[in-house]
């Protein structure tokens, strides 16, 4: 199994969720994050003082899928989360050695 972690623009979540559901990927965990990268944030003025807003609100979605689903999942996310604007985000893939469904104790494939 692989853990696919994607950092996306917040307002893209709904479309991503939809497309994964269409793919039959039946689970996801979302976290509220802030980040920066190429997209550098911007400067604001508060009470007459300039300051840099370095971090921008993003959402991190984590999906654990079977090897076989990795590519489709990455594609789906990449497609739906893309605006073509800087700041669209990243997808990271890493290994998961074991998965357990708490409710039933099922493991790995059955747990997803």
């Amino acid at each position: 199994m692989k853990l696919i972690t994607a950092i996306i623009k917040p307002f893209k979540l709904e479309e991503v969720r939809q497309s994964l559901t269409d793919l039959g990927i039946e689970g996801m965990t979302v976290t509220e994050v802030k980040g920066y990268g190429r997209q550098k944030g911007h400067t604001e003025i508060y009470r007459g003082a300039e300051y840099a807003v370095n971090f921008l609100p993003k959402l991190k979605i984590e999906v654990v899928v079977a090897e076989t689903d990795v590519d489709r999942t990455i594609e789906a996310i990449g497609e739906m989360a893309k605006t073509g604007q800087i700041g669209d985000g990243k997808i990271f893939v890493s290994g998961v050695e074991k998965t357990i469904r708490i409710r039933t104790g099922e493991t790995d494939a059955e747990a997803l």
Binding site: P10, L13, E32, P57, L59
Partner: protein, 448 residues
């Protein structure tokens, strides 16, 4: 021992006999000196009721904010719903039944001096609304908001674990029957009034009544799941928003000037206007003393100043002075309020020891401080002796506790009081209101 009703009725109906007839004329023609004088008094008194009334109405918002701040996020919308609903229901119930049950007027009692009469309130033609030294509507409005206050007290104590509808049904009974009946005993010039009991603005009639109903409800209902550990530990469930709790307390403090000040019931003479002013001063300083004593005691006993205790201290000071805000010298008002603040600091943990779960501290504030305030009247008001005060506290306590118990048990046995464990753990905003008070996920994000 002037009750709310006869303070104003006595001596004025007579004084108004003349005008009553002449009134329609009065409005147009240039009236004779005496008429002017009395008519101006009528306007002043009416104005006092209206101003006091809207200030006390505003207290409904104070309770709503205090409670919204003291409950956990998952129950905030529920608490807001309860508060706006109970204020609405209180008005309707007090119109249909409550008012005349509380103020039957001579000869209309169902049970003389014990149970008033049942009839919806109607408004007279303004042009001939001269039965009293104030307008009928202003009096009803002022009396109604007091009734609503009693109901607000209950909602705070029982927060986070009682379903909406059983609570609202209880409010109907409390405002329509329980509150008016006990109120008639004193302010309706019933048996407690005859006996010399005195409760100027309602430490017992309003606050303790709400407190008793809340206490019995809390016992019947039980504590919030997870509030008390198996080995008697108390698991605090901190309120979700201290800024709102503070706002609510300030709103209540402001409203209290109407609550106590307008309970003078007249403002048309030097003596009355000066009395209202003295009441403002005593009310404000009793609250101030409640805050200061609560803060100091917290620092001494716990090494930190718990804001929620300071807020409760202000309210306890206010409740303590409510039974007699006029006769105390300033320093006496300060003492009375300071003791109120101390009562909160010591009885809040006490209730937890007894595993009585009072989410906002309404029982210490309204019941315990209310009893204190009522008893201590005898200290500053020479016309009042301790015995009738104790009798009043006990009699009303028994009546309200018993009648509430019946209603709570009935509701528990029928539609049930508590949500399912899962609903309670998830919060009642989701299960009963269907929305979250603060639905957004993290800062500035879209809603997930």
């Amino acid at each position: 021992m002037k009750s709310k009703l006869n303070t104003t009725a006595i001596g004025l109906t007579s004084a108004f006999a003349v005008i009553a007839l002449a009134a329609p004329a009065l409005a147009q023609d240039a009236p004779d000196a005496a008429g002017v004088q009395k008519e101006a008094q009528y306007v002043f008194n009416t104005l006092l009721f209206l101003m006091g009334g809207f200030l006390v109405m505003w207290m409904a918002a104070g309770f709503a904010m205090l409670e919204a701040g003291m409950v956990r996020t998952k129950n905030v919308a529920m608490q807001c719903t309860k508060n706006i609903a109970l204020y609405s229901i209180a008005g309707l119930a007090f119109w249909l039944v409550g008012y005349n049950l509380m103020y039957p007027g001579d000869g209309n009692w169902i049970v003389q001096d014990y149970v008033g009469t049942i009839a919806p309130v109607t408004m007279p033609d303004p042009a001939s609304d001269t039965a009293n030294a104030y307008s009928t509507g202003s009096d009803w409005f002022f009396q109604m908001v007091f009734c609503a206050t009693a109901a607000s007290i209950v909602s705070g104590t029982l927060a986070e674990r009682i379903k909406l509808w059983p609570f609202l049904i209880f409010v109907v009974v409390l405002c329509g029957i329980i509150y008016p009946i006990q109120g008639s005993w004193e302010w309706g010039t019933g048996w407690l009034d005859d006996m010399g009991f005195s409760d100027f603005a309602g430490s017992t009639l309003v606050h303790s009544t709400g407190g008793w109903a809340a206490l019995v409800g809390a016992i019947v209902l039980g504590a919030r799941r997870g509030k008390y550990g198996p080995n008697g530990e108390v698991i605090p469930m901190p309120g979700s928003n201290m800024a709102l709790a503070t706002l609510g307390t300030f709103i209540l403090w402001l409203g209290w000037f109407g609550f106590n000040g307008a309970s003078q019931l007249a403002m048309g003479t030097i003596a009355d206007a000066s009395s209202v002013s003295k009441i403002f001063v005593n009310t404000n300083l009793a609250a101030a003393a409640g805050v200061v004593s609560a803060i100091i005691l917290n620092q001494l006993f716990y090494g930190k100043v718990d804001l929620t205790m300071a807020l409760n201290g202000a309210l306890a000071g206010l409740v303590s002075i409510t039974a007699e805000p006029l006769t105390p010298a300033i320093w006496q008002a300060v003492v009375i309020g300071a003791v109120g603040g101390a009562i909160v600091v010591f009885t809040v943990p006490l209730l937890d020891k007894l595993r009585i779960d009072d989410v906002v501290g309404a029982i210490p504030v309204h019941l315990f401080a209310g009893i204190w305030g009522t008893i201590i009247v005898a200290w500053t008001n020479t016309g009042v002796s301790i015995v009738p005060q104790v009798v009043g506290v006990v009699a009303i306590g028994i009546f309200v506790a018993a009648s509430s118990l019946v209603v709570w048990l009935f509701l528990a046995a029928t539609i049930g009081l508590r949500p399912s464990e899962e609903d309670e753990l998830e919060g009642m905003d989701k299960s009963e209101i269907g929305l979250e008070a603060y639905p957004e996920f993290g800062s500035g994000s879209q809603r997930v």
